[in-house]
C-alpha cells in the first residue's frame, strides 16, 4: 500500500526530474545485474508473470476503510530477487500510470519506493529464514512489515522534500501532514505482512523451490514401485 498515490502535477518539474533520474540510475544497475539485457527466457517469463499477478492483486479491492489494496512488492522481492523485482515494479508502475493509479510523472518516485520494498523484502526474508532460522510465516510477515514500514517513511520523505505544488506549506508542515498517511500505510503494511506470511507458508508447502528452499524428494508411491520391482 505504501506508494506515492499522487497524480500528475503534484510535484514541480524539478523534483519530477530528480526522482526520475534516481530511479533510472537504480533501474540501470538492476538491468546491469541481469546481464546487460541478456536475460534468460525463463526469468523474463517469470518477471512478466509477477507483473501480471501484482497488477491483478492491485485491482482486488478489499472493502474496508473505503477500499484498500495490497502491493505484494516485498513478496515479489522474496520470489524473484531485488534486480528482477525492481524491473517488475517499474513495469507495474507504468501500467498503473496508464489507468490513473498514480501519475506518469510519479513513476520515478513510485519506483524508488517500490524498490525499497523489493530490496528489503528480499534481504530481510533471507536473513530471517536463512540466518535466524525463523519459521516461514514469521519470516514472510517480518520481511513484508519491515519493508513496508521503511517504504512508507521513504514515501513521506519524498513528498516532504518535493513539497506539493501549489501548497504554501513548508517541508516540516508537509511532513507532519504526511505522517498521518504514513501511519495508515504502516498499519496496512502489517496487514500485508500477515498476508505475505500466509502466502510464503502456502508456497513453502506446495512449491518450496519458489522461495529458495529445496523441494522435498517425491516419495509417494515408492513402496508400490519397490513391490512391483521385487515381483519382477
Amino acid at each position: 500500500m505504501a506508494h506515492v498515490h499522487l497524480e500528475d502535477g503534484s510535484f514541480t518539474l524539478f523534483w519530477v526530474l530528480i526522482w526520475s533520474a534516481l530511479a533510472a540510475g537504480l533501474v540501470s544497475i538492476a538491468l546491469y545485474r541481469q546481464g546487460r539485457g541478456q536475460i534468460p527466457t525463463r526469468k523474463l517469463a517469470i518477471a512478466s508473470m509477477c507483473v501480471a499477478v501484482g497488477f491483478a492483486a492491485f485491482q482486488i479491492e478489499i472493502p474496508v476503510f473505503g477500499g484498500v489494496h495490497l502491493n505484494l512488492t516485498p513478496l515479489m522481492g522474496i520470489l524473484v530477487g531485488p534486480a528482477l523485482g525492481s524491473l517488475s515494479v517499474l513495469t507495474i508502475n507504468v501500467f498503473s500510470a496508464a489507468i490513473g493509479h498514480g501519475g506518469w510523472s510519479m513513476i520515478g518516485a513510485n519506483t524508488l519506493v517500490n524498490m525499497v520494498e523489493v530490496f528489503l523484502g528480499f534481504y530481510a526474508y533471507r536473513f530471517l529464514r536463512g540466518y535466524a532460522k525463523v519459521e516461514r510465516f514469521y519470516s514472510g510477515f517480518g520481511a513484508a512489515a519491515i519493508a513496508l514500514t521503511v517504504s512508507a517513511l521513504v514515501a513521506v520523505l519524498i513528498v516532504s522534500v518535493s513539497e506539493i505544488q501549489g501548497s504554501t506549506q513548508t517541508r516540516a508542515q508537509t511532513m507532519a501532514n504526511m505522517l498521518v498517511l504514513a501511519i495508515a500505510n504502516i498499519v496496512m503494511g502489517l496487514f500485508e505482512g500477515v498476508v505475505t506470511g500466509y502466502i510464503v507458508s502456502f508456497l513453502g508447502k506446495v512449491r518450496p523451490d519458489l522461495i529458495g528452499e529445496s523441494a522435498p524428494a517425491r516419495t509417494e508411491g515408492i513402496e508400490d514401485r519397490l513391490e512391483v520391482a521385487a515381483d519382477v
Partner: protein
C-alpha cells in the same frame, strides 16, 4: 469482451483494448507516435501550468479529445473515481491547514478547523491536473491498437524492459481472469473478503498464493515454448507504424509552441499574468 471487470473504479484493460481494436474514429486514425508525443506534452502542461483557468481549458481539451474518439463518457466518469479518491485523500491533509481567507469553519473534538480560499484552490487545481492527465492517458490507450503500443514500447524502452512490458501486457488478461474466476467462485459460495480479519487474510492469501503458483508454472511452460520456437530475446513486430504526416508534425509543432509559451511564462517571464 465477455468477461466483466472485478473492480468498478479501476479501468478494465480488456475493455480499454476492445475500444482500441474495434473503433475507427478520427482520433483512432491519428498516428500512434503523434498521440504518444501529445501524451508527454499533456503531462508537461499539467506539471507546468499553475493558473486554474488554463488548467480548466486543458481539462476541457482532453475531454474533447476523448469525446472525439467516440468513447463513452459515462465510463470515463466511473474511472475518474480512482484519481479523485487519491487527490482527496491527499488534499484532506492539506486543505484545512493552508493559510488564507476563511470560506467555512467547524469545530471537531474541540479543535477549530477552517477551509480557506487557498486550500480550496489547491484541491481544485490538483483535481483538474489529475483528471486532465488521466483523460488523455485513457484516450491514448483506448484509441491505439496493441500492435502499435508494442512497437512504441519496443522502440522507447531499454532491453529487457520492453520484453517484460510486452509479455506482462499479454499475461495481464489471463491473470486478471483467473483471479476474477476465484473471486466469483468464492462469492457463489456466499463468501466475501470481509469475514473477520483472520479468515479474510487467509482467504486473500490463498487467492494470491494460488495465482502466484499458477503464474510461475505458466511462466515456465511459456519460457520452454518460446525457446522451442527459437526466441532470441526480441519479439518480432508484425506491424509497422506509418511515418508521421505533415499534419502530424504541424499538430505537434503547435502544441510544442503552446508548451514553450507556458513554460517561458512560468520560469522566465510572466506573460500570462501569473
Amino acid at each position: 469482451m465477455s468477461r466483466k471487470s472485478y473492480s468498478r473504479h479501476i479501468p478494465d484493460f480488456r475493455l480499454v483494448t476492445h475500444y482500441a481494436e474495434s473503433r475507427t474514429s478520427l482520433v483512432h486514425r491519428i498516428n500512434p507516435w503523434t498521440k504518444a508525443v501529445l501524451l508527454v506534452f499533456v503531462i508537461l502542461f499539467v506539471i507546468i501550468i499553475q493558473d486554474p483557468y488554463l488548467l480548466a481549458i486543458l481539462l476541457v481539451a482532453t475531454v474533447a479529445f476523448y469525446a472525439a474518439a467516440r468513447l463513452p463518457l459515462t465510463l470515463l466518469l466511473g474511472w475518474y473515481s480512482l484519481p479523485v479518491f487519491f487527490v482527496l485523500t491527499l488534499a484532506v491533509l492539506f486543505v484545512f491547514s493552508e493559510p488564507g481567507r476563511q470560506l467555512a469553519s467547524f469545530t471537531l473534538l474541540g479543535t477549530r478547523i477552517a477551509l480557506t480560499e487557498n486550500g480550496a484552490l489547491l484541491v481544485v487545481n490538483l483535481l483538474m491536473r489529475a483528471l486532465a492527465a488521466v483523460t488523455f492517458s485513457l484516450a491514448f490507450f483506448m484509441t491505439t491498437r496493441y500492435t502499435n503500443i508494442a512497437v512504441i514500447a519496443s522502440k522507447s524502452l531499454p532491453k529487457p524492459l520492453d520484453n517484460i512490458f510486452l509479455l506482462s501486457y499479454r499475461f495481464t488478461f489471463e491473470t486478471s481472469d483467473e483471479v476474477a474466476d476465484v473471486l466469483d467462485a468464492m462469492r457463489s459460495r456466499s463468501g466475501g473478503l470481509v469475514k473477520g480479519v483472520s479468515r479474510q487474510t487467509k482467504m486473500f492469501a490463498g487467492i494470491i498464493g494460488l495465482a502466484f503458483v499458477h503464474a510461475f508454472e505458466r511462466a515456465e511452460r511459456i519460457a520452454k515454448a518460446m525457446e522451442a520456437r527459437g526466441f532470441t530475446g526480441t519479439f518480432p513486430m508484425t506491424e509497422k507504424i506509418p511515418r508521421m504526416s505533415y499534419g502530424d508534425y504541424a499538430l505537434i509543432g503547435l502544441v510544442a509552441l503552446a508548451l514553450a509559451i507556458v513554460a517561458y511564462s512560468r520560469y522566465f517571464n510572466n506573460l500570462i499574468g501569473w
